[in-house]
């Protein structure tokens, strides 16, 4: 873990998009854990859907997980490649949507391997373990 990522996790205040995307660029998937019920989400929310608590802590998520569902997109939006696969990946504590490098099926093990950037917006990329 780089110092930058360590300081992100230690930083006061909630997980924001800015911290989440900075984490991605540093090679770490950041999520948040509710300080009351312990629910973990892989993307920032202002309040826990489970219990309504606003206090949460930033945590580093597992970099490896399982493909829960996937689809190969053959008709992309403008700005994206001709075809690519996306998947919902179950990390140990939370799920996240990401792009796939290569080809995967439901049940495959994948790891966070890269960041794709389209129009300046970063997204996690996963590849088969």
């Amino acid at each position: 873990m780089t110092d930058d990522v360590g300081s992100l996790i230690e930083s006061s205040g909630p997980l924001t998009y800015e911290k989440w995307s900075r984490g991605l660029r540093e090679g770490v998937l950041l999520g948040q854990k509710c300080r009351s019920c312990g629910k973990v989400t892989a993307t920032p929310v202002a309040s826990c859907r489970n219990c309504g608590t606003r206090e949460s802590e930033i945590r580093e998520l597992a970099s490896e997980g399982e493909v829960i569902s996937e689809t190969a997109i053959e008709v992309p939006p403008s700005g994206f490649p001709e075809s690519y696969q996306i998947a919902i990946v179950e990390l140990e504590e939370a799920r996240v949507l990401g792009r796939i490098d290569g080809e995967v099926s439901i049940g495959d093990r994948v790891e966070f391997s890269d960041v794709s950037v389209v129009d300046g917006d970063p997204a996690p990329v996963f590849a088969s373990v």
Partner: protein, 388 residues
Amino acid sequence: MSRASIVGAGMTPFGVHESTTAEMFAEGAFAAMDDAGVETSEIEGLYFGNAMGGLTENDTHTAPKMASHLGLNSVPCQRFEDACASSSTAFKHAVQAIESGAHDIVLVGGAEHTTGQTGMDTPEMTRVFGSAAHRQYEQSVGMTFPAMFALLTKQHMARFGTTEEQLAEVAVKNHYHGSLNSRAQFGKKIDTSEVLESPLIADPFRLLDCCPFSDGASAVVVTSVEKSDQFDGEPIDVTGVGHAHDSVPIAEKDNLVQTDAAIDATEEAYTQAGIGPEAVDFAEVHDCFTGAEVMAIEALGLYERGEGARAAENRETRLGGEYPVNPSGGLKAKGHPIGATGTAQLVELTEQLRGEAGSRQVSDANVGVAHNMGGDAASAVITVMEAR
């Protein structure tokens, strides 16, 4: 107990319209008003659905524009944007306004262009449709509208053994229904092999698993049950409207193999109406993709979880079957002009429950359900309507 009544229903054909959004909406709205026999001066408010006009046509603040074109004079009017459920959420608020006594007669409808009339090509329109996905955590990944339902459908296939052939049967059935509907965008029947040989869009969905880009408008006139006998149009009662949401982004949903928003909204609507799924004679459901219809009829309780895929295969949801689903042709064949879709479902329910649906009439139609979803299964509005 009935919450409100629909006394007029009308819509344009769905397909390609060169007319402006307001011109299109006037065609649908006047059809509904003429059906009810109401004058423009009697309309006390407009509840309008339009999802993407700001992105596709640089057209916002559309409600007063529609009202002005219709000749309405200083009435409260509002536009609802809830992706593909826009005119259904407009309808929900209209029913509440009638129920509360705030208004006696209101107009509810929607209009939208999504074909090449917008000047946008397929990649640009795919991006616009994708705007319903989470801005930061889904759009950046390249999420598309078909991909949202493909992710849910792939789970359904993995969990329950649903097949591409079964999905194709949904498209075949809805095209058959569309062939009986003069307002449907696709009036042509198709067979299973045509679906399975059409190009992939987002697997498992092929071109013919997907609803088309469409232009069109639809509208209904809503009034109180007490006043509903004073109109030309035969009143059809609204006995339940349920509305719920589910998490965005899709990865945060509790369940990826079913549509929880629709399940929750169905329970609310059935409870209001005092019915269960066994009372439902037919349904218009949100079949933006074939897999979406499978999950819709499960959410409505017409089929057990995981059993929905056999419905079209066994012809149970075809006209003449146990539960006719999408007798209009659905989004798949009738077309899906986003903001117009919700009230177009109510137009079909009204015509079916009046017994005026002609060659696509559901026999003994007394209770109909409309199932309308928005975004990545994140909004659901379920409406129960009943003949008297």
